[in-house]
Symmetry: C2
Subunit: 444 residues, 2 copies
């Protein structure tokens, strides 16, 4: 019988630890994957890929007690050697190799993609087909570090605002929003569906925790094959009670974005630099009613409105342009969406019931959030369901929650992959999805 006492310090060092080493010329031990080898004849550079970046190891005959040929690309190795400063090397340091230990070797050194190039010069299709290889490219990998920062910021900011994290079921008897875009499955000989959103559950939990959030997958069986749709994505959802109006929801999202940019700037500067990303300003975000912004862009850009009840993708782009030009903002809240385009639980605007107390957030011309105030009154809710000709079937427990009292509340959902895409400046959401699922892609 042995005892485990927790994580012990390792002999091998990470890049940040090497950079903190005050004594140059000390002997260090490092490990990593052989990203590439550049053999210059008398000297060779073995570039290690580590989780914190690239590390240059220098091989010279005489100094090293092994043969360079022992190292092949895509192997993982442990190196012992002398740490030196070299301003031309990544992070300003290099290790002059003395001893080598092979940790693992590839069965096939020929990579399907040239991952050690600065930019992966290949099609999106190829990148996705060889996902576990393409992400070994430093730039590709950095996108998902940024994505981590966004998720982390969402949670940490909401914790600080008194929210409780919840985990709601993804398999259920009925979809939250209804409609045809639901994946169906058999659940022990009963029909079941995959959750399109945690909407019902997060509302029900507002009556318990006041403020809740969830960061989890949602499933949409939409037959859209566009650059901005996925059939499975990560939704950053929150719902909060005791609001004075839907402006509280927008203020909370603005606060999240401010916190997220600070966190990225502080903890993900390396990745931002790798990707050449300049963070957007989020000190204030303009909010303008749906009807008004449609007219503003129609006028300014001579755009012909075709659908008065929804925003077309081209209109979103124009609104983004308008917000940038007129208000110098990468973000814009579009408020008061038409009621007929919002789900039954959306609170209608008492001043004009054709519109709702809801909003979308556009980021550089793309919708990344839908949110708003919800109906909290049982009678109002059931009347709206009836007025829409909908059935209460399958919503009994959701509705019962309102029967027993609910505070005024609202919330939103943010598409994580879209938010990442817009921040980084990609033009296809698959670029910022680890393993995308779309109409034709179910693997890897």
């Amino acid at each position: 019988m042995d005892y485990l006492t927790g994580v012990q310090p390792k002999e091998t060092l990470e890049i940040s630890e090497l950079m903190e080493q005050t004594v140059q010329g000390s002997i260090v031990k490092v490990n990593g994957a052989v990203h590439t080898i550049r053999d210059m004849g008398t000297v060779a550079f073995v570039i290690l890929r580590k989780r914190e970046g690239l590390l240059q190891c220098v091989y010279e005959e005489g100094t090293a007690d092994f043969d360079l040929k022992e190292i092949q690309e895509a192997a993982t190795i442990e190196v012992e050697g002398v740490l030196e400063a070299n301003e031309k090397a990544p992070n300003g340091i290099e290790v002059r190799m003395e001893k080598l230990r092979i940790l693992s070797e590839p069965a096939d050194e020929m990579m399907p993609l040239a991952i050690s190039k600065w930019k992966l010069n290949t099609s999106l299709e190829a990148k996705l087909n060889y996902r576990s290889i393409s992400l070994r490219n430093i730039r590709e990998r950095a996108k998902f570090r940024i994505q981590e920062g966004l998720t982390r910021a969402f949670r940490d900011f909401l914790y600080s605002q008194g929210f409780t994290e919840i985990h709601t079921p993804k398999i259920g008897a009925k979809g939250a929003e209804g409609g045809a875009n639901i994946f169906k499955l058999e659940y022990f000989h009963r029909p079941a569906v995959l959750a399109q959103s945690p909407q019902f559950y997060k509302q029900m939990m507002v009556g318990v925790f006041d403020r809740v959030f969830e960061t989890a997958p949602v499933f949409r069986a939409e037959k859209h094959n566009t650059k901005r749709h996925l059939n499975e994505y990560t939704s950053l959802d929150f719902e909060m009670g005791y609001i004075d109006g839907f402006e509280d929801i927008m203020a909370m999202e603005t606060g999240f974005l401010q916190y997220a940019m600070e966190l990225l700037d502080k903890e993900y500067a390396k990745e931002l630099k790798i990707l050449g990303v300049t963070l957007p300003k989020v000190d204030q975000i303009p909010a303008v009613p749906f009807k008004e912004i449609k007219e503003l862009v129609a006028e300014k850009y001579g755009h012909k409105m075709r659908n008065p009840f929804d925003l077309e993708p081209e209109e979103e782009v124009l609104i983004g342009r308008y917000a940038k030009e007129e208000w110098d903002s990468d973000f814009v809240f579009v408020t008061h969406y038409p009621s007929k385009k919002r789900p039954f639980y959306a609170m209608d605007d008492p001043e004009d019931t054709r519109y709702t107390l809801s909003f979308d957030l556009l980021f550089r011309g793309l919708e990344i959030t839908t949110g708003g105030q919800r109906i909290h009154d049982y009678k109002m809710l059931t009347e709206k369901i009836a007025a829409r000709g909908m059935s209460e079937e399958g919503m009994e427990q959701y509705l019962a929650t309102f029967k027993h009292g609910m505070p005024p509340h609202g919330g939103l959902g943010i598409g994580l992959e879209r938010l990442t895409m817009q921040l980084i400046g990609e033009d296809n959401v698959r670029e910022t999805t680890l393993f995308p699922r779309d109409l034709s892609r179910l693997e890897p």
Copy 2:
């Protein structure tokens, strides 16, 4: 056009803010749900349920400018009044009500459950049927705050250890572990399955980020109807590269548990107190081989071993008892599981290939983690697949990852609901699942 500038301070105060008010007798504004009303004749106590706990509001005719009858249970209200110290009140404070604003009213004041009782005196069945109501009970709610603390600790600890968070798809073409326990669905006229675990994906991502984790739902179509099985649960998964052995994985889990207990002690003390939970010691966790511990408990407790290749539930209980009695530990790692009971990707022990370099973690006699070192060598992996008579079909991209080099690695999965159950001392995992899914339960 307006501008949103982020979260603004609210006029209404939370309990912690009230407790920090240095000037007693000041006028404060608070809101909350009317948890219960105790009318004593000349004075009445209106207990508000807020996210931070209960707040006692005192109604006296003459002081208040409204009639007590205006307040009904399950309404949400805003109160203005004088803050006073009262050591008999929850948190030592109360508010003497002066002004009232009704925020919302229930359609039906009669609750299906007596949620304001200290302990919900009802069946598990009823609790789950009325989930959004039963969780309004202070004790029921506290369980999920503890659960939040565990998830949060998992992530924060792993961030500090250089892990990257990933989001892997839940819909796929083939299950990670194979077998019959997979939910099937139709994906745009193609057969698909729900992920039993992120196993393949997290391993593939070790080649990219070295260390990864995910906290996400997993789906198991197991026909078990027990107190410890769910068909959908939250799995805390991590996978790490450059390990020296599977002991590194156990050490990382030990470190997580140490961090988790510290975080709970620091930030969730209120909830621990509500539930009467004493945190277990985790300064060191004993680790003992499968074969050895089976013999030890057989000998000590006169238990008859029936299955030499697996642990029966009763055996887990005895091992938990043994660990407590012999090593004064609530946790015990059981190492070196038989190879035939582990998936193909488990690394066999080179010293005795009938066993693997893997482990389970038992917490108070229940398995809460399965983990271990994985095979990282392409040839070894494909040979083991062949030796088991399995097909490589559907695993092409997983296997290709190994062809192109992978560091020695391993990882684990923790069942969040089970961990919460054992920590709190519940005897049914449904008690610590927000909306459980089992053989017969698909709603709410």
